[in-house]
Structure formats: C-alpha cells, structure tokens
Symmetry: C2
Subunit: 469 residues, 2 copies
C-alpha cells in the first residue's frame, strides 16, 4: 500500500482525476496481453507532459515506488505486468502528433499515439512508416519503441529500431535527455537512441519520438503459394532470397493455423494444404511485376502446388488482415493461447519448423506455427488451458526445448516480442551470463534504485510462467 | 614507461615478434589522420585471436595500462591518439574473412579486414555492402564499426550501424560476449550491438562482426548538376526529396573544393560554377532511368545551369573517385588541413552552408565545403598551418561557431567522424550535461578502471585542438 502523502503529491502533479486507485482500476492494469501473469499495481497515473513525468519519477524515487510504463498492454512478454506493485503509467493524455515534416521525412509523436493512426496519417501524404506489428490497430508507438516491435514488413524494411531517429527520455534520476534528432547521421557519443529502443521501460520513460519516414512505394502485389509440405515452403523462402529478391513480406502459416484463421476470417483460405507462403512485394510497377513473376517461378520450382496472385487490393488486404488476425483466431481454440517468438537464421527455417513439430509431439501439446518466414521469425503458438497444471508444465517444457533448439541453430529466444518477465529465465540461453552481467551493469548504472519496470529483461529469480489461481 | 614484467607477459601472450616498443614504432602510432594530436604510446601489440585479446585486456587491467584499439588510423577525431600512453592494439593479424553466407546474406569478418576488400568480394558475388567511407581503400571494418562510419551512400542505405547484425566483443573485464547473430530480428535484452557500434573503442574491443548484405542493385547512373549559387544547389536537394525520390548518393561540392579536386584529379570538373551536386541512383533500370529524369527536371527547375548524366561507368566512377579524393586534394593546399563534420536536418543545408561562409569571413579563415548533402552532413574543411598559433586560434573559434550553429539548427557536432578526443569539448553542445552524465554512467559501468581508450568521447578536461611544438 502506498502512503497517503505519496498519493497526495501524485495527485498534485497529475491532477486528482488522472490518478486511479480503485480496486477495479487496479485490477484492469494488473495484467497485459500475456496469459498467466498478473499482479496488482497500487495506483495508475496518466501524466500530460514530460515535466509531469519528471516530477513523478522523482517522487517515486524518493518513496522507492516502482514505475511500470504501459502503452496499450499488447505486449506478449508480460512486459507491463506490475510484479512489484507500485505505479502503472499510462500515456492516454500524451497521444498526439507533434509534427510531420515532409521536407526531412520525419514524424515527431507523443508515446501514446496509436501506431495505425500514424500509418494512416503519413500514407495519406504519400509517405510510409514501415513497422507494422500485428497489434498496430491498438498498440502505441511508445510501446513499439520500448519493445522494438517488428511486423510483417521486417524482411525488406527492418523493425521499429530502424525508424527511430531521436527520443526524449525521462531517466530514472529525473533528468530529461534528448537523443538524436531529425538527422540522417549522428555519432555524437554513444547511441543512446538504440539503447532505449527495446529496453522495455527498464532504463527510462520515452516522452517523445522522432521517427523516420520513407516515400510510399508506388504499388504493391500480393500472392499466396500453397504447399503440400512444410519443407517445400521453407526451401522456397531460402530460394527466393538466393535469387536476390527481398520481398516486403514473406509470411508462413502451417495447416492448423490456416484452419483456424479461415474459420475466423472466412476469406476462402485453403485448409487442405500443409503450408502457405503469403508474399508481398512493393516498389515501382515494373520491378514489382518482375519480382512477382520470378518469385512465382521459384516457388513452383520448389514444390508449390498452386501460386495465386491477388487480383485486387481488397483481396490482398483481406489476406494480410487474415494473417494479422492469427493470434485472435487461435485464441478461440482454447482457454489459454500462448504465442511464442523463436527466431533463427533464415536458412534454418525448415529445421526449426520440423523441430517444433517434434517437440510438440514429444511433450503432447498442440502447437500451430506461423510467422515471418523471411526473417526466420516463427510464432509457435500453443492452445492450452492454464487451469490444467499438469499440461501447463508440459507446455513450459516444450517452449524451453523450442528456445534451446532456436539458440542451437544460431537463433534467439525472441525476435520481436521482447524478454519482459516471461522470457527472463531464458535470456541466458542466448546472451550467456557474461552478456547478462554487461546488461545488468548498464541497468544498475542508469537505475541504481531499480524503480523502472523491475523484474523485466533480467528477473531477480529464474521464475517461469506460473499458474495464477 | 612500462615495467619489464608487463612487457614479458605481453610477449608471452602475443609472441615477442608481435610486440613493438622501439622509438620508431612508438612514433608511428603516436598519431592518426587527425592533424595536431600526438602522444607517444608505450608499446604496440598485434594479437591473433579473441583469446589473446582477453589475456591482454586482463593483463592491462591488472597493471592499469590504457588500451587504444586501432584499425588503420584513418579517423578524423583523434580517436586513436594514445593520450595516456599505454598500449596500442593493431588488428593486422586479425584481417580475414570468416564466412560469406549467401543464403542468409551475411558476411562474418575479423576487425582488421579492409573495407574495400569486403566490398570487392561481395560485389563479385552479386551482393552489396553499402557503407562506403571515403577512406574505404585503407580503413578497416573494425574501425568503421567503432566509429559508425558513414559514406556516400548513407542517404538511401544508412551507415555502418545499419549493417552490423552481431559482434564478438572483449569487455574491459576480460569477458568475451557475443551479441546478435545472423538474425533479421533479435530483441533478447538491450541492444548491445548498437551500443558498441560507434563507441569508439571506449567500451570494449570488437573481435568479430557479422554484417548484413543486400542484393547488388542491378544498375546505377550518375549525374552532375552545375549551379551558379549555393542556394539553388541546396534548394534542389530538398526538392528532390520532396518529390519522394531518395537517391543513393547526393553529394555537394562548393567552388573552392571543385577547384582543388579538379587540380588533383584532372577529370574535367567545372571550376567556374559556384557549386555542383553529384547524384547517383541505383536499382532496376526502369526506376533508375525514371528517377534520373525526374531528378534532372527538379534540378533544372531549381536553377541548375547544366545537368550532365555520365555516359559510361568509367565516367561515373571517375566522378565518385574524385569526390572521395576531396580530402587528399584539399590536403595539398596548405601544411594543415582540418576536415570537419557538422550535420543538420536536410532542410537546413542552405542555411548551414551560408553560415559557414559567414563564419569563415568573420574569423578570416579559408574554408571549403563539400559533403553528403542528402544527409545534411557537411564537411567544412579548413586549409591552415598548425605552426601559426594565432591563425589556429581563429580556426578553433570558427569551428566552435560552426558547431554551435549546427546544433542551433537542430543538427549535431558530428555526423560520421565521431567525437574522439577532438570533439569531446563540444559534445555538451549536442547532448547537454544530462546526456553526458548518462553516457559516462555507462562507460563507468562497463569500464570502471577507465583503461579502454581513455579521454575519448568525454575527455577529462575541455581540452581543444592543441598545437604540438
């Protein structure tokens, strides 16, 4: 429980109506999109300015109250679960465009702005903000920055990190710093911008971001390739890149995923094939049409049973929307849906998909797999029931086996979801104890009192997913 | 002076023939490409493996001997000047390709590999490594990574940072860590890869790097646009981008630069115009030819007196080679050539070029300006004489005024050369004291004994360029 003096000061800073501490409010922010992680915060605050945040951070520091910054809570790593109680900070009052600069091709935004609002606004001006996490309809840019979110266009265009040019950040000591700027190049000291991108709210609070925009590609085309085997689909992925073609999107869905996605979206997806590749290319019309022809040829050579190019923008958009809905569709299968994020070098996709199938069989759990094949970023997704403790133990073991396999193939435990609380026990698999020690030294240097989103990235204990009764 | 026990142990680690401490050797490594910074190291060592380096780092830690890692010493920020003596570490025995992986589009290299050797090797395979610092014929990839080097293709393709996927690093405590990998996406913990890129050897020693490659663009075209005024050239830069065209290269040279470059390269550059833009576009043939036509139109609309498209690859290559030789050409003008690196948002190029001219007049110094106009990255270059103390004082003041102006226009003190020793006194202009404090906290966390390239990035004192007698 927070003492009343703290609460009074908090209300003075943010305004009493922007401080919530009823049980219902606290319950609403006790969990995020990650199943089975929950802890009650003590208070929720919605500041309006960086200066408000500066005062709140200093107040929290003096009372040793943890701060959990939270966008829309769509993360899948329990990154915004307030494990030590304390304060959840919302950005609903800091959700504005500050500027779109068409001459320098930048957008400056507040952290609470919804990703899709930015995308819609810049596309209306013939500009392009590529990072498109599946949650983009509700996720915030501040959340995307803190998680270094990926999306469907990562193969050609990279991830959020590649579009953050500058940040304003309130540090754990209350200092406000500005990093980078509207600059194509800046090497004035350490790359603090990229250190904060993906730091999951553990090093400071992003209060403003300057993002890089591109010209909107002139045109795009989408195709769906159907396969009777996972291996042929995976081989096609490598073969497309080996042809020196980098599609904008190169997505993979296995048969079980297809079935539930079709059942959910009803757009006529094939459910009688073993796998599909959903491929999009963008650019100028000649290049797009030539790339699509070459991709079709490569896929056919590698065993695609059918190659269908979308005939209209609506059809293409329906395909991509269906793919984005995979999590929602899979969530209907069972009481608990755990979507994971193992990533391997592109050349290892076939091995990884096969390993996931073997592991699912070994641990007797149901796992569908889809993901960003071009990035080697797979989302094995388990339909389970958190109330079944025995099954959950097998699920946990299966995922550990998946992460170990990914790392053994030169991959990583998370491609785009972040470590958060959920993957903290597995971080050492990827970065070894020396890597964790170096990261912890940085955390300790910037947040010696450990008030910024504690337990995330490197938890105190090797606590794994737990069943909350 | 180092004690003999230290030297004996060093020889045991690296082999006696790879440890040099004669006066001639020490003199050779007492300076780098930056004029007027010099300090004698105590010893020079050339290790062969990461393990050698681990042992050397631990030895240096126990004897409190500073370590200055050095590629080819082509940096322009006195980043490899051994200001506190100690050990200069060379990578001449760690200069090999480890692997080019055509399936994952990566190259894994040792830090001592020459940039151009990588570029030549991957281009022969139809692949592309875009970062192309002007020094690429002699610079090393380890140096490029430590300085986050830019180049002529930064506008469209970004800088070294954007191509580093993974690193092996020996930390100041002797730990060896591996960051990232052959992965398009990896968010397992803090972005240590980008923290080390551009950290100027102050946080650890890079012993291996995995770099991202792209398919080689099918074709490219080059054009030269001539202007009677700087303003028209600058306005053309903004107008090209406003047309939603991102050229691969968009370089600017003013009249004095043209004159010396032509005198040096003798390729028929115009010397009777006020400025030129050197523009290259790459991609598929249709897009390149359409972009070139549109760029030509935009430049003519904005006052270009003449627009000449190179008729052959030889002609295009001669133009780019001449531009890359600008520093060498300018270096012939006077005993001392100081090439600077102020960077502004692209929209401020005209203002910045005009400010540089005003400042040169005010301080009565000769400054030529050229640079990467598309990136807002200008290289005002001063022809002076280090032996003339009075003039050097004016040069120093003029550059301070240039940095202040760049920052006031939303720019930075260095776009691609790094801070090193030379710009440490100016870093606060850009990142403020709070930003320096945060960077210093990271340095202190990873290198508490301050043995890794001390005095760089944030020097102990506000020491400016000094005249060495």
């Amino acid at each position: 429980m927070l003492n009343s003096e703290f609460l009074n000061q908090l209300k003075k800073i943010a305004g009493a109506s922007h401080v919530q501490d009823s049980k219902a409010d606290r319950l609403a922010y006790s969990y995020d999109a990650t199943p089975n992680f929950q802890h009650m915060p003590d208070v929720i605050v919605s500041p309006r300015t960086a200066e408000d945040i500066q005062h709140i951070v200093r107040l929290c520091a003096s009372y040793q109250v943890p701060i959990v910054p939270r966008g829309s809570g769509t993360n899948l790593c329990a990154g915004t679960c307030p494990t030590q109680g304390g304060l959840v900070m919302l950005f609903t009052r800091m959700n504005q465009f500050i500027e779109i600069d068409e001459e320098n091709l930048t957008a400056t935004v507040q952290p609470g702005l919804i990703t899709q609002e930015l995308i819609r606004e810049v596309e209306a001006r013939g500009l392009f903000y590529p990072p498109d996490p599946s949650s983009m309809k509700i996720s915030t840019l501040g959340g995307n920055i803190n998680e270094n979110s990926g999306g469907l266009r990562g193969l050609k265009y990279g991830v959020t990190r590649d579009y953050v040019l500058g940040l304003e950040v309130v540090l754990p000591n209350g200092d406000i710093i500005k990093t980078g700027g509207k600059l194509a190049k800046d090497v004035a000291g350490y790359d603090m911008t990229r250190l904060f991108v993906g730091s999951e709210g553990t090093l400071g609070i992003v209060t403003e971001a300057t993002l890089k925009l591109l010209p909107l590609p002139e045109t795009k085309q989408t195709m769906l390739c159907l396969y009777e085997s996972l291996e042929e689909a995976a081989a096609s992925v490598s073969a497309i890149i080996a042809e020196r073609i980098i599609p904008a999107t190169l997505e993979f869905m296995d048969q079980p995923t297809l079935e539930v996605v079709e059942d959910f979206a009803k757009i006529g997806l094939p459910t009688d094939v073993q796998a599909v590749l959903l491929i999009e290319q963008d650019g100028n019309p000649e290049a797009v049409s030539r790339d699509m022809q070459n991709i079709a040829k490569v896929c056919q050579q590698h065993g695609a049973k059918e190659v269908n190019i979308a005939h209209s923008e609506e059809e293409a958009s329906a395909l991509l929307t269906a793919r984005r809905a995979a999590l929602s569709a899979l969530a209907r299968l069972s009481p608990t849906t755990i979507l994971e994020d193992a990533t391997v070098p592109r050349s290892e996709i076939a091995n990884m998909v096969r390993a996931i199938e073997d592991i699912a069989r070994e641990y007797e759990v149901k796992i569908c797999t889809f993901g960003h094949a071009g990035d080697g970023n797979l989302h094995p997704t388990c339909a389970t029931d958190a109330r079944n403790e025995e099954e959950m133990k097998r699920v946990e073991e299966a995922f550990q086996a998946i992460f170990e396999k990914a790392v053994s193939l030169g991959g990583t435990i998370t491609g785009e979801h972040g470590v958060g609380l959920m993957k903290a026990p597995y971080l050492e698999l990827k970065v070894k104890k020396e890597g964790i020690a170096a990261m912890k030294a940085i955390k300790q240097a910037l947040d010696p009192a450990n008030i910024m989103n504690p337990d995330k990235v490197f938890g105190k204990a090797a606590r794994k997913r737990v069943v909350i009764s």
